[in-house]
């Protein structure tokens, strides 16, 4: 088979694009496949055609059902030939085609013949092919041969049968389980890979029997495992056994630890690494246990092989999350990796160093990173910037060095994403570390002097307008801002005008100077800039005197638009220019439920410029204003919390309804947002009838029906319930939408006079404990925790039962409590056996609550949790425990 498919042609040697498959075409190859039917087979030619077919499949070409069947039948003819090379290509082709059950029968007998052939290669390959295409019924016929093959003298045959067994176990477990004895014999095989495959299969057969796995591990750890791959598997199984028996042996020595430690001296690197990694992942590993593993990983750090360095630094990076002290020994080796050719290694080294670093080493580290930053790609720079941001939040006292670093790299070359990451970081630092504010703002000012990204310039100008006037000397920013008016494009100029006027509104003493500047803007070449300048000159009032700014003007300048922009856009489009002016109050305020795809995007953590101050509060404000404008609800007091909309109908139904739960001290208001999706209908008198029989503490006090609901124009109806004051009452409500339907003539848009009463069943709605908890984060959890003090601390332990993963359990508890995860602790690293999660929130009655959750995996999947609550009120601490206990 080593012959070239096409004779080498010397003339074409230099041609770069030369390929034996140049201009290959499926139809032609399928034609060529007719040679398979020749009475006198030419093995070499047939092999070539099969190679061409495989090439086409490999390039992503697909055969139609008919084509595949034809090729399959033609290929089966080739079993007549005794050419070994051709037969192997036939095996390959059959596996590629994965024939259907009725086609399989055609080749079964040929394959079974090969399975009993004297040629080992035939036996091994026939087993693999047959097991690949077979179904359960056929399997029982060949089971006898497979059992024999497992203990075959030839390792290739034995491995083929064992590997096929591993795959068959997924579909026909009961058959494969009968092979235990043979597999066990194969585990003792002298051939390395047979042992590896047998061990893998045996473990899979027994994986649900803890005792059997434990026995298997016990006997093998004492014995002699030849293959490094098998040894790696054994280490994995051993750590599994350790995990499952860990709780019983708290006496000190961990079972099998000696075995793992012994593997650190194995001659194969993959085994050493597997053992080291297994040790670092032991639950509750002690530093004494860690030391030997860290030592070998440290040796790997200076290996000449990138793979080895990567594996070691990645493992150490994980260890640094839980045991930063244990890794500090490697810091010197790690620092030399900062300049590693492989940037993944360098980045892992840096982030590890940033994790293990203490306050005193920050400065030195920053110096090193500065040198390194210039020669890495933007994506890695972003990782580093993020690591530095969290380091700065960890050591607020070091803000000066870190802020300097950020401002230096801000000045250097970089793409938009990288610059945005830096700007976001500076903004976060300004927000969280008050001392950093002034220097941070100045760095941003310098940046916009020479910023090529309009988006970033406008965002920074906006931020400057909000924060600048509150600083000790607001006037020093004016120059930077006014420079923008001279030097930038229209978008930035307009933003600068708005920022200037914010300074004018907030700082009365600056007002006359701002006025002069704004007047100059009246001669700008751009409409928007001139319009804004005119508008602000008029709203600021006072004709340039030092006077206090009107409160309304301030709300106008700084308040957020409480109307969803999409709704405003639709309303403006529908507005006919006429005598009647556009009324902004006619714009529906309710947020149309977004399609699923869009929902995901804003779900990302809101950091930096785009989010924070104007983000979440504005919807709450909007709701509050909306509710207080309804006389029935105006006496309920201050709105505590509004939930996110909960869908009460499936997508794409006739009427789309979602509900927002508004929680007050003594009341709950359900806001049903309804949309009519049928153009031929007009709904009137829309009402939701709520059955609160499963919510005993609630009683209905008021409702506000919706008088008319035309097609595709969302409207709201409200129902209010009274509940005991300040008590987090929970309950379940069933809802029916009731209304009068009127037919609408789609051509004229006019509704008929008489309607029909109708109703529409909605899904149930629940008020849960999390509804009484407001997500309010804290920037430094530890400080907040300490200052709250242990007076009203309540600690208890809970078993959460079997869970899919630790992450799933953590998320379940977070959503049960409805609190804000702090410091990114909601993310559970892969494969970790324990996790600590920090939550913060405000409970109804405006009581601050902090929660520290410690999770651990106990047994195979059982998750246990220790819950520590601190709050300003004993009863609230108890209430949190009650939520968890009853959830």
């Amino acid at each position: 088979m080593a012959q070239p498919l096409v004779k080498k042609d010397d003339d074409r040697d230099d041609e770069a694009e030369y390929s034996p498959f140049l201009g290959i075409e499926k139809g032609a190859v399928l034609q060529e496949a007719r040679v398979f039917n020749d009475p006198q087979l030419d093995p070499r030619r047939c092999s070539q055609v099969i190679t061409k077919l495989l090439y086409l499949l490999n390039q992503g070409e697909s055969f139609t059902k008919i084509e595949a069947t034809e090729v399959f039948f033609a290929v089966t003819k080739l079993f007549q030939s005794r050419d070994i090379g051709l037969r192997r290509m036939v095996y390959l082709m059959i596996k590629e085609l994965s024939p259907s059950a009725d086609e399989v029968i055609i080749v079964t007998s040929s394959l079974m013949k090969d399975m009993n052939s004297k040629t080992d290669m035939y036996r091994a390959n026939a087993i693999r092919v047959l097991c690949r295409i077979t179904d359960g019924t056929l399997l029982t016929q060949i089971e006898r041969y497979l059992k024999q093959a497992i203990v075959d003298k030839n390792p290739v045959v034995a491995s083929a049968a064992l590997v096929s067994g591993i795959h068959l176990l997924q579909t026909n477990p009961e058959v494969v389980k009968r092979w235990s004895n043979e597999v066990q014999e194969a585990v003792q095989s002298r051939a390395a890979l047979v042992q590896f495959h047998a061990l893998a299969l045996l473990h899979q057969i027994r994986q649900n029997d803890r005792l059997a796995v434990s026995k298997l591990v016990t006997s093998l750890t004492r014995g002699n495992v030849r293959s490094p791959l098998a040894q790696c598997l054994l280490i994995r199984y051993t750590s599994q056994v350790i995990r499952e028996s860990a709780t019983s042996a708290q006496t000190g020595d961990r079972p099998f630890y000696d075995f793992l430690e012994g593997c650190l001296r194995h001659k194969a690197e993959m085994v050493i690494f597997e053992a080291a990694r297994a040790i670092t992942e032991l639950s509750g590993v002690t530093s004494r246990e860690l030391t030997p593993a860290i030592t070998v990983l440290q040796l790997f750090l200076s290996s000449s092989k990138p793979v080895l360095r990567f594996a070691a630094v990645r493992t150490l990076n994980k260890v640094a999350m839980t045991h930063p002290m244990a890794v500090t020994n490697c810091n010197i080796d790690m620092e030399s990796l900062i300049s590693d050719q492989n940037r993944s290694i360098a980045t892992l080294a840096i982030t590890t160093l940033l994790k293990t670093g203490n306050e005193s080493s920050v400065d030195r580290l920053m110096k090193q990173i500065t040198n390194f930053m210039s020669d890495i790609a933007d994506e890695f720079k972003i990782v580093v910037v993020e690591a530095i941001r969290s380091l700065c939040l960890k050591f607020p006292l070091k803000y000066r060095a870190l802020m300097n670093f950020l401002s230096n790299i801000l000045r250097e070359e970089g793409g938009f994403d990288y610059k945005k990451a830096i700007v976001d970081s500076i903004v976060i630092l300004i927000r969280d570390i008050p001392e950093a504010k002034e220097s941070g703002l100045l760095h941003l000012c310098e940046f916009i002097e020479d910023c090529e990204f309009t988006y970033l310039s406008t965002q920074i100008l906006h931020f400057l307008g909000d924060e600048g006037p509150k600083t000790s000397d607001p006037s020093k920013y004016i120059r930077y801002i006014y420079n923008r008016v001279h030097l930038e494009n229209a978008t930035v100029r307009a933003a600068a005008v708005s920022t200037l006027s914010k300074f004018g509104a907030m700082v009365d003493s600056l007002k006359p100077r701002i006025f002069v500047l704004l007047r100059r803007c009246l001669f700008d070449s751009d409409d928007e800039v001139r319009d804004r300048a005119t508008l602000y000159i008029n709203t600021l009032g006072g004709d340039g005197e030092v006077v206090e700014t009107d409160k309304d003007v301030k709300t106008f300048l700084f308040g957020s638009l409480d109307i969803p922009l999409a709704n405003l856009e639709t309303s403006l489009k529908n507005y006919d220019p006429s005598e009647e002016p556009f009324d902004i109050n006619s714009v529906p305020r309710e947020i149309k439920s977004q399609p699923l795809a869009e929902k995901k995007a804003p779900g990302k953590k809101p950091t930096g410029l785009g989010a924070a101050p104007t983000g979440p509060p504005s919807t709450v404000d909007a709701y509050e204003r909306l509710l207080s404008s309804i006389p029935e609800f105006s006496g309920f007091g201050k709105l505590f919390k509004s939930s996110a909309p909960v869908e009460l109908t499936e997508a794409e139904t006739e009427y789309a309804v979602n509900v927002v739960k508004h929680i007050f001290d003594g009341h709950v208001v359900f806001q049903y947002n309804c949309t009519n999706t049928i153009p031929e209908q007009l709904l009137e008198n829309v009402n939701v009838v709520v059955d609160a029989s499963e919510a005993e503490e609630f009683s209905e006090v008021a409702r506000k029906p919706l008088s008319s609901l035309p097609y595709d124009s969302p409207g709201q109806t409200f129902v209010a319930f009274e509940k005991p004051d300040g008590v987090p009452a929970i309950g379940k409500f069933s809802n029916v939408l009731r209304f009068t339907v009127k037919e609408v003539d789609p051509t004229t848009g006019e509704a008929e006079d008489d309607g029909v009463e109708d109703e529409y069943q909605l899904e149930d709605l629940e008020v849960v404990a999390a509804d009484y908890m407001m997500k309010v984060g804290v920037s430094n959890f530890r400080n907040a925790w300490e200052s709250m003090g242990p007076d009203f601390e309540r600690v208890d332990e809970y078993g959460l039962g079997p869970r899919d993963s630790l992450a799933e359990a953590v998320n379940a508890v977070i959503s049960l409590l409805g609190m804000q995860p702090c410091e990114g602790t909601e993310v559970v690293p892969n494969n970790s056996r324990s996790h600590t999660c920090l939550l913060s929130g405000v409970y109804i009655g405006n009581v601050r609550v902090l929660v520290r959750l410690q999770f651990g995996i106990d047994g195979p999947k059982d998750v246990a949790m220790k819950l520590a609550v601190r709050s300003e009120d004993e009863a609230v601490s108890d209430a949190i425990h009650e939520i968890v206990a009853s959830g």
Binding site: M1, A2, P4, L5, V6, K8, Y18, S19, P20, F21, S47, I50, T51, L54, Y55, N58, G60, S62, S81, R82, D83, I84, G85, R88, M89, L92, K95, K118, T119, M121, R128, R132, V156, S159, V163, S164, H167, L193, F196, H197, A200, L229, C232, E269, M270, F273, E274, R277, S304, K305, P306, V307, L308, F310, A311, Q341, N342, S344, N830, N831
Partner: protein, 172 residues
């Protein structure tokens, strides 16, 4: 254990690929993965030692020679050194089979050997063999079935068989 093995050319086009996991359900998903992986790695120097990277929650080890790029992908919690062993096995056995002229042209001309080689290294994600000599040995077995009737053999093959018989009897 192994999610895919890829052999691409110096422009990122497929020479031979084999996927073992359903992380990439469609051909276009596979092509997209290959393209971004290729762009990400093309600048690195993986000619003397195998290199490694993380990408889309996969661990990928790779090695280049001439105009050929070899990749082995595993899940992100796989032992990196095991993946490297698979890569080395693939790389070395291809070198043996192509008699050290390892380039795209030679690989395409002997695509059957490359495909058989892939088939002998990993079976549906399970590692079959990593020793290059064993893999190449299994792929290169190329004589006629000794039990085949003489009429089906060519003269030279018959002579070969005869010679083998002779040497065997002589050395006994």
């Amino acid at each position: 254990m192994v999610k895919n093995i890829l052999l691409l050319d110096s422009e990122g086009k497929r020479v031979a690929v084999k996927y073992y996991s359903d992380d990439w359900p469609t051909n276009s998903a596979k092509l997209a993965f290959e393209k971004s992986l290729f762009t990400k790695t093309m600048k690195s120097n993986a000619r003397t030692e195998a290199e490694i990277t993380m990408f889309d929650n996969h661990t990928i080890v790779y090695k280049f020679v001439q105009d050929l790029h070899f990749f082995v992908t595993g899940s992100d919690d796989e032992n990196e050194l095991i993946l490297a062993a698979v890569l080395q096995g693939f790389f070395d056995s291809v070198s043996l089979l192509l008699r050290n002229t390892v380039d795209k042209r030679e690989a395409l001309e002997n695509l059957d050997l490359i495909l058989l080689c892939l088939d002998e290294i990993v079976d549906r994600g399970m590692i079959l063999e990593t020793d290059a000599n064993v893999i190449a040995g299994k792929v290169a077995v190329n004589s006629m079935d000794p039990s085949a009737p003489l009429s089906e053999q060519t003269i030279s093959q018959a002579l070969n068989v005869a010679r083998e018989h002779l040497t065997r009897t002589l050395f006994q």
